[in-house]
């Protein structure tokens, strides 16, 4: 037994979240991450089965909803808040330092790519052991 509306919502949240995650603006990435976790939390609940009464002992009204995915999702919500707060602090700092919240390509990696030729020359000098040179 499954609810199509929720599955559809999960799909849209994942798509929108992933799309924002691919962007270059740090603030969009943070927002994308938040959307993605909403989708993940819904997915957890959905996998737990159908809606039910709140999982409280003694509560009235039909079978109880599964408490385990709820507990997992609750942890996830709080952790997401933590990472959102941290990423926002990063975005703020990035703005403070560079007046931009763009995620640039890693400077060091770009350097590796462009300095290949130089490294090759160094390697050649380092490797050849000419102990017999006379």
């Amino acid at each position: 037994m499954i609810v199509l509306a929720l599955a559809l919502t999960v799909a849209v949240l994942y798509a929108a979240g992933t799309y924002l995650l691919f962007q270059r603006n740090l603030s969009r990435i943070v927002i994308g991450l938040a959307l993605l976790t909403h989708g993940a939390n819904l997915l957890l609940l959905l996998a737990g089965g159908r809606a039910g009464r709140p999982p409280i002992v003694g509560a009235e009204g039909g079978p109880a909803a599964d408490p385990v995915p709820q507990a997992l999702a609750l942890t996830a919500i709080v952790i997401t808040f933590g990472s959102t707060a941290f990423l926002l602090a990063l975005a703020y700092r990035s703005w403070l330092l560079t007046r931009s919240d763009e995620v640039e390509d890693d400077v060091e990696d770009v350097r590796i790519a462009t300095m290949t030729a130089l490294r090759e020359r160094e390697a050649e000098e380092e490797i050849v052991v000419d102990e017999e040179a006379s």
Binding site: I2, A16, L35, A51, I79, Y92, T116, V129, E131, E132
Partner: protein, 768 residues
Amino acid sequence: MIAVLAVHAVVALACAALGRRLGRHVLLVGALAPASSLVWLATGPSPTEKISWLPAVGLDLELRLDGFGTLMVALVGGIGVLVFLYAWHYFGERPRLVLFTSYLVGFAGAMFGVVVADNLLVLYLFWELTSIASYLLIGFEDEEGVARSAALQALLVTTLGGLAMLAGLVMLAQSAGTYSLSGLLGGPPTGPTVAPALVLVLLGAFTKSAQFPFHFWLPGAMTAPTPVSAYLHSATMVKAGIYLVARLAPAFAGLHEWWRPLVCGVGVVTMIWSGWRATFQTDLKLILAQGTVSQLGFIMALVGLGLPEATFAGVAMILAHAVFKAALFMVAGIVDHEAGTRDIRRLGDLGRSMPVAAAVAVVAAASMVGLPPLLGFVTKETALASLLSEAGWPATIAVAAGSILTTAYALRFLAGGFTRYATDDREIVVDEAHSPAAGFVAGPVLLAIVTIVAGVFPRLVDGLVAGAAGALGSEGHHLALWHGFNVPLLLSAAAIAGGWLLWRYPPRAVQEAAARLPRAKMVYASAIVALNRIADRVTSIVQNGSLPIYLGVIVATAVIGPGVILTRAFRLPESLIIAENSIQAVTALLVCVAAIGTANVKRRLGAVLFLSAVGYGVAVLFVIQGAPDLALTQMLIETLTLGLFVLVLHHLPTHFENIGWRLRQASRLILSILTGVTAGAFALWAAASRQAAPLSGEYLTRSQPEGGGANVVNVILTDFRAYDTLGEITVLTVVALGAAALILTGRGRSEVPHNDEELVGQKGGDDR
């Protein structure tokens, strides 16, 4: 045996930990380790020991001492003690001697392990430990680039072979059904994988024993301090490959017709090529190094035959070579130490200033050449006779030709080091040197005495050698000084005469032509350069520094991998409803619209507001699902998040920069939609595939009596899974500290720290 290994480990650690205040005397403490193996050998130990570790995968510490092992232990221990005593004089007070001692003791222990290991994996372990010790010792002068690259070269070559050997050993063990070395040799496996496995193992043996075309690392390794050259790179470690071939050959040489041509061919080529190169070196140590490679080739050819007489001769050669070559290396080190150079173009008449060392050199070199009545003569005659009777004329002639070269480079060593004889354009600078201290020459003198005494009375070492050969299936052969006038004697005499001619009238044109031949070292160098080049290219592609690309790869993998499986296994749940009720349907629709809006809007604040709409909508969905706690948390968190976003975003520009529609955006969109489809399909599929009963029933019944609470979700978080919650709180604490540091750093200063672009106040000021 385990006790001996433990002694080595303890001594190595003790030297490293406590040796600093002893200065160079720490080397004497180090000598205790190889001495312990000699003492242990003298007590007539039990031949096998075993500690079971992982019997299921055949990984047990199985040690076994047989006759061959006894000979090798005697060499490792005996020459080890002498080398430590020698090194004690060789080194002045210098830093890091403690470390040197530890490495050398560690090597002695590892080498002991190699020759007593009776489990293939244990053998491999000790084998590689010797490679690592060799690496550390070659590169001991680590401030010199040459030493570092020589060490790396030796390590790469030997461990590359070692890895091949590991694969071969595992394949052999799988065919044989046992990881025990004696078990493997007792019943040699047959099957399609045995031949490739043996080739892989031989690759390990050839690299370790510096056989052509992997020979080049050994001359390079001569940058190590001379005690290391004498111990590792002539007497013991480079014999490991020979040791292994000698073990395997009696069992396998007869089963594979390619074995003898391959192993003996490699040995003979190594003997001749490196012997030839030794005849025109100008560094005393390099003459010896090339000569060592040459002799290793000789011994490899002998033991590779796997026939009784040749095996006996090969084992005898191992002993003889270790003794005379260690002595020669020690003398070369003494010359270097006392005269300040090893270059034979600069050295002069050192025979007068260090007569004892010169006498040792003459005895050891004569033994190498094969002059009677020395140990080298005894073993070489035996070797030639065995080749003649078991391998035929071509191999005998080839080895005799190699012996011509041996004579030539032995003469070059002696004449260049100790006389004024002019072989090259000499410019003798160093004619006199300090006379070495008595203790310094004691080791080489002892080895020279052994060479002479064992030559005159071969009976003294016959037990050791015959025992070793007996362990390899070669019974009934004995060493003798005099076999009468026979063909081997004639060949020896011819080789000596030829060698003298070659030394006296060196064919310079041929030498120069040979020097121009392509060399294995160049192949190695270009392989390393090519490897680095490929690594650079791969790195610049794989690690390109772009976050969107990294994420794209991860997401695409998640879509393609599980997504493809989903399309194959997907089936719709049996009971599919559109929504629980109309409120759920409307809320879900609103959440979807808000999510799309979040992704689409260009104003920062707009995106945040849409995000909040999604969040509150999800909270409503939680309520409908029957999760009031979740909904409550979601509401609170969403409000907090909104506040945080607004606080940060009022610093940032109102609109996102650079989000125009481009081709790249299109591919991002497509991948995102695919992700969404996969997630949705997964949700449907997961719900349809439930097989086990949910845990909830148990939690519901246990919540009140065990957790003391009616709200099951709360009980799970604070009781059943309380450690998770503790971890979560820790994460939040760390996040809070990190965020505070990011925001507060630089506050209250007149100028915030910024990067070299000096962008502060130039570009973004107006956007606020």
